[in-house]
Symmetry: C2
Subunit: 337 residues, 2 copies
């Protein structure tokens, strides 16, 4: 039942050679006679020896493991993206130690420190905020390569993968304006992280360029669940007609779900009673009727790009920032006022 662990010493003994020789054979060192090789390999096979990766890490100083921190594995976009990230890293021989964010900067900071203590070879970070000086400092203390996933700590010598949310939302907003909308609501999550800020930027740029005064006012941030999106939407739709939005742009999937629920509550139909653009084009959106207009990003591309970037850093290259496109696609719910 409790078989003893077989170590490199056992192999050496069984083969009648020194441990250093065993190590050489196992790591394909050039100087190893065919005879030595076969003896060691026979012993390895016979004993079913498997190297202890913890000991190996302590000695060599690298773990071949990348730490990953993100807020929320249940976020559909990140879930999809992660599959590709993980697969790319795995086929390059790296593993992922995944941590879910605690929800605040102090907690995330602690997690990153822990990953450091575990000697991670690299870090993928999607922290809960990118505006915290504490987190900024903790990240700067990471001894190994860092790739930020759509987070924008400034003046940090790390790599970044961005999605160009601003351009996509800007196109969407411009299209809605061209369709005659003057009361457009952007409902989004936390402005503590880059994506929501970028969407705001793209949105406001279009509003300002068109020189309309947007009846709804500024982007609405801090909506973190379907239920709060639902409540907020009902509130908006009950405004006096002059301030009531004729179009809504939803920044995240959770918001989209809540908005759709609210519209259903109110007996309003998107595309008909108001226009709607959703950010993130997930599979289930394809089965909704009417077809909802979207601003989409490619999660496969995001995942593999982040992995490639990490691998280049591990290979000694310099950190850089890569921005991936987003695309506005008008469907049934982009309609004239």
């Amino acid at each position: 039942m409790d078989k003893p662990r077989v170590t490199i010493h056992d192999v050496a003994e069984a083969a009648g050679v020194a441990v250093s020789s065993v190590s050489r054979v196992l790591s394909n060192h050039p100087s190893a006679s065919p005879n030595m090789k076969s003896r060691v390999e026979a012993a390895v096979k016979q004993l079913g020896y498997q190297p202890d990766l913890v000991a190996q890490s302590l000695r060599t100083g690298n773990t071949r493991t990348i730490g990953l921190l993100m807020k929320d594995l249940s976020n559909p976009f990140y879930g999809e993206m992660l599959t590709f990230l993980a697969n790319s890293m795995m086929s390059a021989g790296y593993n992922l130690l995944m941590m879910t964010s605690s929800g605040d900067a102090e907690g995330d900071s602690k997690i990153i420190e822990m990953l450091n203590q575990r000697r991670m070879d690299g870090f993928f970070l999607a922290t809960v905020t990118d505006q915290s000086p504490l987190l900024r400092k903790t990240i700067s203390s990471c001894r190994n390569p860092v790739v930020l996933l759509d987070r924008d700590f400034t003046n940090l010598d790390v790599a970044r993968v961005f999605a160009d949310h601003a351009t996509g939302v800007n196109s969407a907003t411009k299209d809605l304006i061209a369709l005659g909308h003057k009361n457009i609501a952007l409902m989004d999550g936390s402005a503590q992280i880059r994506p929501a800020r970028e969407r705001s930027n793209g949105f406001l740029r279009a509003i300002n360029e068109a020189k309309i005064k947007n009846g709804v006012g500024s982007p609405i941030n801090g909506i973190l669940s379907p239920s709060s999106a639902r409540a907020k939407t009902r509130e908006l739709m009950n405004l006096p007609k002059s301030k009531r939005p004729t179009a809504i742009i939803t920044g995240s999937t959770y918001v989209t779900i809540g908005v759709l629920e609210a519209l259903s509550d109110l007996g309003l139909s998107p595309g008909n009673d108001l226009s709607l653009v959703a950010c993130d084009d997930l599979p289930w959106l394809r089965v909704l009727r009417p077809r909802i207009s979207t601003v989409s990003r490619d999660y496969q591309n995001f995942g593999t790009t982040a992995a490639d970037l990490m691998l280049s850093l591990l290979g000694g290259e310099k950190p850089k920032t890569i921005t991936l496109p987003t695309r506005y696609e008008a469907r049934d719910t982009s309609q004239p006022v």
Copy 2:
């Protein structure tokens, strides 16, 4: 830039004490004078010392890390569930090393071996199949506690968390039969894993008890993507009327999406032209109209139950199997023939 790592030796030297004393203070050993304590703590603080967890693992033999293997992080149910699993384990002081399945038994077997070499303190496994002797053998060689996530390797001394798919699907099927359906199709994923098999069982039990001969025949397995579900559905709906299903039960989210796409292609509306029951009640289903009948399981419950079970095993308790309920909820798409 490349600051040297500060070790326990550095702390000992700075404090003018022995390394063993530093270790004692850090692990709250009873015999440590207040004076010693304060000297060490001062040195730790001054140097910013943080223990090396790799070295610690090698010495103590435990990593406080649980290995996790699953097919597909993008599977929405597992994504949601994982959040709760991860949070529970983290608050108990454990981390998760997450691996995505390679797609075949050999690959999964290799991954589990690797996790073993990394000295994981435990294993959460949702392998790509639970019918492989190779995998069975590899799992039995795990030295630390194993919790199977809805996988059913028999005669293995490990813990299991099951969802009672059979009962939920059985209720759904019975309801459809009561509504007059005699041609019911169950479309599902791989029968290599327990969930699809259980759904088949629950389905067939209802069919046989009702003594109807189901026009569609046996459950349809092996549907792994929306596109193949879409193709299969079109094929079914083009059958001669006597064999054409009047109701469909979809075993997974991917299948549900594909079926809905196909129905849209064919100009058929669920609830009206045929009945439909979907397994797994995800948030976005709530915004579809008509409301789709579902067989649901509680992902939060699944995640925390799995975590609690693992923690009990780590605490020395015996492995057991826990089965969690599923629930059939009739909505707008369970209609009379």
